[in-house]
Symmetry: C2
């Protein structure tokens, strides 16, 4: 396969344009793609320890074959260690190898890996090139594109970070073969979200071909990931710094989703699972405001359930979730900006949602313990 067949999108940013490659076995092209992206120097490959050693080895070989002298480190890159201590550990490794401004950091792993190592790349020697090699579905369709990198502080998640665009995003669908089922579902939540907010055709595909998509076999899953990647790439190109409302649309389901993660403790629900419940709450708000009808709420519920995603949550209260929305990082002057559907594939932002409406919609997605359903 040539890489142009696999080119899903070109992201256009103030830090430069870059290609997003999506295909099977494309990891073998990484050296050539990096050269085409204008990169030279050495490569510093940092891989999550949960990756299969053979996958890391294949990436290493492909880099060397492409002419990049490569140093490799595998380490834990999980939410638990997404902090400054881990960042300092990676700095130390780079310093030990005298990594220079012309060198490139390549990160291989899920969304947390990309966030954490991306932050290192944003700040090492005032910023060096980074290549994102996302290996989870959620990271592929969402986090790896757009340059948002961050780490957590004891005071909150993602409080420290940067906008540091990659020079290349390389997504090998073969990496998904070993992804746990729940993580796969979490990734589908973000991809389905792209359909719900911006692309009715993509939503249709998710509804009609759920089995084929979840099998990961054949061409359809690859093409569908590419389409989801394109939507993210268009949004980022239009609103790189989330200054307008365009990029904020990607936040659909995230206000209540983040609140659920925050209140129930991170790790109980996967991020994508919390977002699925959050999208149901947002749909409830939109229906109450007369923006959408019951039918679209049901369509959304059905498609999420087809991908084994939860549509309700237990063990939290409405008061807790509403309080948590008010401390969200995206709030401005304490005010919540909601992303709500107006129709299938069409979302808008609204700052004027009465709290009573939010309360009713949140009530609706909370069920007593032990009844959380998919």
């Amino acid at each position: 396969m040539t890489s142009d067949e696999n080119l899903a999108a070109v992201v256009s940013t103030t830090q430069g344009d870059y290609r997003v490659i999506v295909g099977r076995g494309v990891i073998n092209d990484i050296g050539a793609e990096m050269t085409a992206a204008g990169l030279s120097g050495r490569a510093f490959l940092i891989a999550d320890v949960s990756m299969f050693p053979t996958a890391v080895h294949r990436a290493h070989e492909a880099l060397e074959r492409g002419g990049f002298v490569t140093n490799v480190m595998t380490m834990e890159l999980s939410e638990r260690v997404k902090n400054m201590e881990t960042v300092l550990e990676i700095y130390k490794w780079l310093a030990g190898h005298r990594a220079e401004r012309i060198d490139t950091i390549v990160v291989m792993g899920g969304g947390v890996a990309g966030d954490l190592v991306g932050f290192v790349a944003a700040t090492w020697l005032r910023g060096v090139a980074v290549v994102q090699v996302p290996t989870s579905l959620a990271a592929m369709v969402d986090a790896s594109i757009g340059g948002k990198v961050a780490i957590n502080l004891p005071e909150g998640k993602n409080l420290v970070g940067a906008f540091h665009q990659p020079k290349l995003v390389l997504q090998d669908v073969a990496h998904l073969a070993t992804l746990p089922e729940r993580e796969m579902a979490g990734g589908f939540a973000e991809a389905i979200k792209h359909g719900l907010i911006l692309d009715p055709g993509l939503l249709d595909t998710f509804e009609r071909q759920a089995a084929e998509l979840q099998s990961l076999d054949g061409d359809l899953p690859v093409r569908t990931i590419r389409r989801s990647v394109q939507i993210k790439a268009e949004v980022v190109s239009a609103d790189e710094f989330e200054r307008g409302d365009v990029r904020l649309l990607l936040n659909y389901g995230h206000t209540i989703g983040h609140a659920i993660e925050n209140v129930s403790g991170y790790g109980k629900l996967l991020h994508g699972e919390a977002v699925a419940v959050g999208m149901m709450a947002a749909a409830g708000i939109a229906r109450r405001l007369g923006m959408i009808d019951e039918e679209l709420v049901n369509r959304q519920r059905n498609v999420l359930q087809q991908y084994n995603l939860p549509v309700t949550v237990s063990g939290v209260t409405t008061d807790e979730l509403i309080a948590a929305t008010k401390t969200d990082k995206k709030s401005r002057g304490g005010k919540v900006k909601w992303v709500l559907l107006e129709g299938p594939g069409k979302a808008v932002t609204r700052s004027d949602v009465p709290e009573a409406v939010v309360r009713e919609a949140v009530d609706e997605v909370i069920v007593p313990n032990e009844q959380t359903g998919t």
Copy 2:
């Protein structure tokens, strides 16, 4: 005074354009200037503990008068604490006050303060607005303009940082009245450097009016700082990320200057003092390569001495200094790019300087202990 009288330069960058204001008493205009720069939200004023409390108080009052609800913290912001620990302390303070994306960080102090707090602003919530209020001459004519921010690691100086342009640079010449004499001289070294590399007229002014400039009285010092600021602003606008050779010209005297700081230990010589010696070594190289004549070397020595700057160093060896140049952060593939004069107000970069020539020129600026002279 209106601020347009005091407008020294507009810096043009991919992160936006910003004004550099230079004048006496301009701190009183900070609120209006920030509003004109499009800033709103709250202000978080972080001042070096060595500032006079009255100066910090005046800034605080001016911010509040300009409509900015302001939180103030004074803390040590010295080279000794230019590290991640201090950064984490400031993050904690910002988190405690729930600083949001629309808020602005205002930093008041010398170059280290601007570097350190600028790095915090670059990374807090993926980057918030920062206003630089440099209070040392070196920070005014150099570090406060151009968005370079950084902190040190145990493994080396400025290894971690970002390019984070300020939204406004406000330089109140009144702050210089309390600056220690040696620090003042260090600042003149950077300003004289601007004349040497890019502006023969500015060099003339420094030579002919040394007494008036050093008195800080009258209009000439203010106009001369503005001219030096303009040069820095033009260089940054032309080569924001130091990708070409333009911004590298500002590095004149810094290759050996950094080596001296590195070998003799930071703090023994001030940065500007080390740069003065470094410029003498660079002049020695250029003379040996036939690029300039002995007369320009003497002119440079004389002007530096007029401002009580050292032109030789003791307690270090040529071997140590040459070894240190090879590990400089700006080296690429281990190769040193020298900034050398071709004439008064004219500098170029050269990568082909034979080590024997460097060795001779460095020998010339080293004197036995206890004979270091100005």
